[in-house]
Symmetry: C2
Subunit: 202 residues, 2 copies
DNA sequence: GTCTATAATAAGATAGAC
DNA sequence: GTCTATCTTATTATAGAC
């Protein structure tokens, strides 16, 4: 007779992951103690280590969920009949976390940690590579349809599409007066002018 | 009779700061131990704390030097008779650290730490604000001379000039196969197209 | 001014009761 | 499955000899 309710188990886990996300965003991975996470999640140390083998696993769990979300949104964008609309929709999705003021800090922390943790780096690079492949495919289709300048290399431009979204996270992380979502129209303008998107010209 | 040679003292300090920079870039601030710094600089714990009051002061010292370099290069750029050339020269200077593979990691670490350390944040924000003010002035002059689109808001565009350089650091931090300096010409192209720089059109 | 030795503290993870 | 209590280890910073 099993007493484990998998739904309850998953909910408890998610609760821990969310509480930990806030801690990591505010204090960083290394300065967040397991005691901080326990306090935020309203559980004891013993319980935390019942759900996760160590602190790092809690951090990883945040971005595993994120990777699944991204893959889903990427598939939607690539399936869009209009590749340019698909691209803009994807960009919107990628910058959405910026609505939460903690998120810029969490992304900066992710990149910082990924620089020293090969497993985390693998997670980040895989996600990045998938996004770039999808974006490059969208750009190729847009070029075929004459919607953007066909002189632009899709693979290289995909780097810059993500680079521009990175810039929003970075600027938001540096300057608390910078409103990243208010800059989204400008991001679209830069993208359109860089890629020679047809909307601008005619 | 003073036995302290200020030149020797400054050299020893700089040696520690440089050794520490490498450690911080590779392991991050929190995972770098004072013992790591001592080993890298070839000194003992007692000596380290003779030159710096604590670990954080070593980290700060790196970026104080950096801030002075930036201010100097900014003055040069603003003094340039050709504002567009001044801007491009400044951008070149800002991305120069990317020639050293450690530097992307160090910048990411700086931004991550600045999110939790008000004094460090103040240093970063002040430097950022000065750069943006200088860049906005260059853009205004370029617009007056008809070198760029005068519909672009200089203060806002200054954010994006720095955002594009941020993007190079961020991409280099995420993907070790990404060669940031090879992307510098593309950065200039994006900038020129975004700002409607005249070179492109005629 | 540089060293060795160590004090003081904090943190991750575990044991074992309930 | 959750808790309290605690073990173990690591780290910053200082004391004091040379």
């Amino acid at each position: 007779m099993r007493t484990v309710d998998p739904v309850r188990y998953a909910a408890r886990r998610r609760n821990i992951v969310e509480a930990a996300g806030g801690c990591f965003a505010r204090k960083g991975f290394d300065r967040t103690t397991t005691a901080d996470i326990c306090a935020a999640a309203g559980i004891s140390s013993g319980s935390l280590f019942h759900y996760f083998p160590n602190k790092r696993a809690v951090f990883l769990a945040i971005f595993e969920q994120d990777g699944r979300d991204n893959a889903e949104q990427l598939a939607l964008a690539v399936a869009d009949a209009d590749p340019w609309a698909g691209l803009l929709g994807l960009v919107d999705h990628l910058v959405r976390p910026l609505a939460d003021p903690d998120s810029a800090g969490l992304v900066v922390e992710l990149i910082a940690q990924a620089g020293r943790d090969p497993e985390l780096a693998e997670l980040v690079v895989r996600n990045d590579r998938e996004l770039r492949a999808g974006i490059a495919a969208l750009l190729s289709r847009a070029a075929e349809q004459g919607r953007i300048d066909d002189q632009v290399d899709p693979a290289q431009a995909a780097h810059w599409v993500l680079g521009l979204t990175d810039a929003l996270f970075s600027r938001a992380g540096i300057d608390r007066d910078f409103d990243p979502l208010a800059e989204l129209p400008t991001l679209r303008t830069i993208l359109a002018r860089y890629l020679g998107a047809v909307e601008r010209i005619g």
